[in-house]
């Protein structure tokens, strides 16, 4: 997998969820390639319903990859306004195109200004992603 990290995105550093600021409060979310590589190929995916409230650090969905199930952790608080139905029906799209067709959902963020402060973006992305790749390799998260 191509482990690239575009600088215009915001990354949640612990759970490897990317965030794209589309308007003042409209944020598109997905899993970054390092997060996906550590999981393997996705078999199933579920997301909380549209209009449901999500809280930063809490589950916003569940996935099954290579027979491991895990909760998808919300990087921000808000409500889900859109879900990627194609990815829900064919989760492999998340593996194939994590920044494109494999997006997960769009949320209306409650407080982007405050909560985005813990996200990594811009020039900080390169150093952070290299360090994360090294950590993931050394701890056996990825080959």
């Amino acid at each position: 997998m191509d482990l690239t990290f575009p600088k215009h995105l915001y990354y949640e550093p612990e759970h490897h969820v990317w965030c794209l600021l589309e308007s003042d409060q409209k944020i598109r979310l997905g899993i970054d390639p390092l997060g996906i590589s550590s999981l393997g190929e996705l078999a199933y995916l579920s997301l909380n319903p549209i209009e449901s409230q999500i809280r930063k650090g809490q589950a916003m969905g569940v996935l099954e990859a290579a027979k491991m199930t895990g909760e998808l952790i919300a990087p921000l608080s808000g409500s889900i306004t859109e879900r990627n139905q194609e990815a829900l029906e064919d989760p492999y799209q998340v593996n194939q195109d994590p920044y494109g067709k494999g997006w997960l959902c769009v949320i209306a963020c409650e407080d982007w200004e405050t909560e985005s402060k813990h996200l990594i973006t811009g020039e900080a992305v390169e150093a952070w992603s290299e360090k994360e790749m090294e950590r993931y390799r050394s701890q056996g998260w990825i080959d």
Partner: protein, 375 residues
């Protein structure tokens, strides 16, 4: 300090709720790591986290036989749990600084193998989530990670098994299967009692596994009990989730598919059947009249469980098996087998709800094994 729980004949909803609740508490640092060795009340049919319950279980049969049904937090295929199957739940945040689930899984599997080896059973960790004895599955393993950072590693170990009951509960039309086909299915599964050829008690197996965990991780286990707070949290989880029909009978977005290919090749007739979850292979059966070692074919089938359907990924998995089992597979070229598997995948069609093409944790696709003619 770790905690140890030993319980017997628990209900499906309590067993599942206790696993999930306690793993969550471990994740929140409200409890040290836990080892739980327990049995379910006979019998409970449990589907994997995302399985379509109508496709996987014969719900009418389960109801008439008093078999409770539920949905696990872990993935994989449906299983039948009861007083002869030992549930092993290991809950932790990390071990010696390691938080990578697949690395932790290796330790979990190694401990279970050590325990079985001490009985003289040559169990090995195979593929992503199986313990096998010479190609016969003896245990299924699963992992669930929660938002608090806790892991639940789970194993369903077959100390004994009523295969016919399992097949009936798991939607396999046993009445339509000939004795030979049933024998073939039984030949892919084994139990501790079958391997030892004696009616060893479940408690003896439990005690041995407890010692194995203690030795591997350097822990002296003392039996523990749930606190009042933990009992309340488990009861809350039972009510909100495992007694809730919305959880048990939930809709699944990814379609179940099945496909087959049957073709004459220079190696002979090759009959391949697959069941899939969307684009992921759940199980593969390889039959026909080609010459190949039975255990080598089982090895291939086991390695393709819950596997990518991408051609490169399949080839990457098969190549090392062909190197390792060169003599057993010399008459079945890897290119021929790959092509047959890919054709079965290409032919895969959506399975209608209620169809009997499910895939149990210990069973290959329906109709599987029925025409196996390899020597």
């Amino acid at each position: 300090m770790w905690r140890y729980f030993s319980e017997d004949r628990v209900s499906d909803y309590f067993g599942l709720a206790a696993d999930e609740t306690m793993a969550l508490r471990v994740g929140k640092n409200q409890s040290p790591p836990i080892l739980r060795l327990y049995t379910y009340r006979s019998n409970s049919a449990l589907v994997g986290r995302f399985q379509r319950i109508e496709n996987e279980l014969n719900l009418n049969f389960c109801e008439t036989q008093g078999i409770s049904v539920n949905r696990r937090p872990t993935g994989g295929g449906a299983i039948l749990m009861g007083e002869d199957q030992l549930g092993v739940a290991w809950m932790l945040r990390e071990w010696e600084g390691c938080q990578a689930p697949r690395e932790l899984m290796k330790h979990f599997a190694a401990t279970l193998c050590d325990g079985l080896n001490s009985f003289g059973i040559d169990a090995k960790f195979r593929g992503k989530n199986d313990l096998e004895v010479e190609g016969r599955k003896i245990a299924g393993l699963g992992i669930h990670s929660n938002a608090a950072g806790g892991y639940l590693f789970h194993c369903s170990l077959l100390v004994g098994l009523d295969v016919t009951l399992m097949l009936k509960a798991l939607n396999v039309p046993v009445e339509k299967l000939e004795a030979k086909k049933l024998q073939s299915i039984e030949g892919r599964i084994t139990t501790v009692r079958k391997e030892l050829d004696q009616n060893i008690s479940l408690n003896e197996v439990r005690d041995t596994l407890k010692k194995s965990f203690g030795k591997y991780f350097g822990i002296d286990f003392q039996k523990d009990h749930y606190t009042q707070e933990e009992q309340s949290a488990i009861a809350e989880m039972e009510t909100s989730k495992y007694l809730n029909r919305e959880w048990i009978y939930q809709k699944v977005e990814v379609p179940d598919l099945s496909g087959e290919s049957r073709q004459m090749t220079p190696a002979g007739l090759i009959d391949v059947r697959v069941t899939m979850a969307g684009r992921q292979i759940k199980a593969v059966f390889i039959g026909g009249d080609f010459f190949a070692g039975e255990s080598a074919v089982a090895d291939i089938e086991g390695s393709l469980r819950w596997h990518s359907s991408e051609p490169e990924a399949i080839r990457k998995t098969l190549d090392p098996i062909y190197i390792r089992r060169e003599d057993d597979l010399s008459f079945l070229p890897v290119e021929v087998l790959c092509e047959a598997v890919l054709k079965a995948i290409e032919s895969a069609q959506t399975i209608a709800d209620g169809n009997t093409s499910g895939y149990g944790c210990f069973v290959n696709p329906q109709g599987a094994n029925e025409e196996s003619q390899h020597p």
